[in-house]
Amino acid sequence: MPRVAPSTFSQYRTLLAKDLRQEFRTREMLTSMGIYALLVIIVYGAALALTAHGVDIVHMGGGLLWVLIVFTSLLGLARSFAREKEQGCMEGVLLVPLDRSVVFLAKATSNILFMLAVEVIAVPLFYFFFMTSEPAAPTLPFIVAPLLVGTVGMAGIGTMLSTITSNTRSADVMLAVLFIPLIYPLLYACVTATTAAIAGTEFWTDFFVMPLVLACGYDVVMLLVCWVLYDFVVSA
């Protein structure tokens, strides 16, 4: 049987296509994440019911938005390895001669894509329900940058932690317990940048550029660490 060693990139593409195809077929993750995001918005509606007019939504909006994103992502990340475990597929993939970090990168990419897909729906919904009472600042479109950087970082470290917790008892809770403290710095930076862009006050760049750069730094450092350590995690 003639075999040509496939390039790392083509293996990455194959694995990614597998995740996307599965999701396209079942829509399991996207539906559950989307519904969950909507539910969080409804809970916000109740939580802010009495304060809705007096509350400083311009300064709270960024934070609330990120709460929504963090918890929705947590749900998706926890699910992302369930399918790999179900029939021992993870082992099947690991039996193939491929670099372990490819498995990590492919999974992280699919998680980024799913999270972004949900954000595309959830962020406009959030805006529609809570932010339309105030005139939008001209800098509002800039929230895309922290959303993107934050999603990449959360998906990266989340993929790593999800691989670990998928082998533990009460995996979902375990993932949250590890995930939230570890992403705190990223969350802090992203909330600051998002809030700055939403408020768009005179010196908004002071609160936007620096946090964004720091968030990028966090992404780079954490993705590198995860990338290096992933081999150990899967060959445990």
């Binding site: 075999r3 040509v4 293996q11 021992g88 082992e91 193939v96 001669p97």
Partner: protein, 236 residues
Amino acid sequence: MNAVETLHLTKAFGTRRAVDDVTFSLPEGSFLSIFGPNGAGKTTLLRVLSTLARPTGGEARLCGVDLKENPDEARGLIGMISHQSMLYPDLTAEENLMLYAKLYGVANPAARVSELLDAVGLSHRRLDAVRTFSRGMTQRVSIARALVHDPRIVFLDEPYSGLDPHAVEIFDELIGAVRGDRTFVMVSHDLAKGFSMCTHALVLARGRIVTFAPKDEIAFGDFSELYRQTVGMGVA
């Protein structure tokens, strides 16, 4: 050349030795059955030989390829049929096989996949999701998956668990048909069955080799008597 060759192979954690000083060589084309009571280290030995677990000591070679130095080359030589199918339930039989064919870099994946589906008699179901298959059919797809890259050595990890007698019959037939000059290594609880299929038998107890011999040197009666004693030893 020997298909499998181990020298003082050990897998230990702390003082617990799951595989302890295992030395044997298996000529190419043989069928090795590994027996032993629960916790004897059969599955661990198979995981070490299939590069899913790292040995802590000793050496192991598959067709002359050192597992520690060249794990990726060794991975290309082996196929694994386990009690878990390692197939993604939401993908079709064909998609599953294509996925693995591409990951292994099989030269003409589409042709190879349809050839294999023919061989396991599931061409008519190739567009159905694996989730809809019976246990027996899933296991047949699993055989095709393990053979997609034409491995020299095939590992079988309790392949019969959950199969009804009829499915077992088909499974055996298929294994016979795809046997060729490949080497098989099987872990099984079923003494009579494992013994009837093998050319070599290996009995493990508490991680150590109790017996390793070609079948023609032992009679089944003596063997099962010996095994009973061993199991007794392992349990006591």
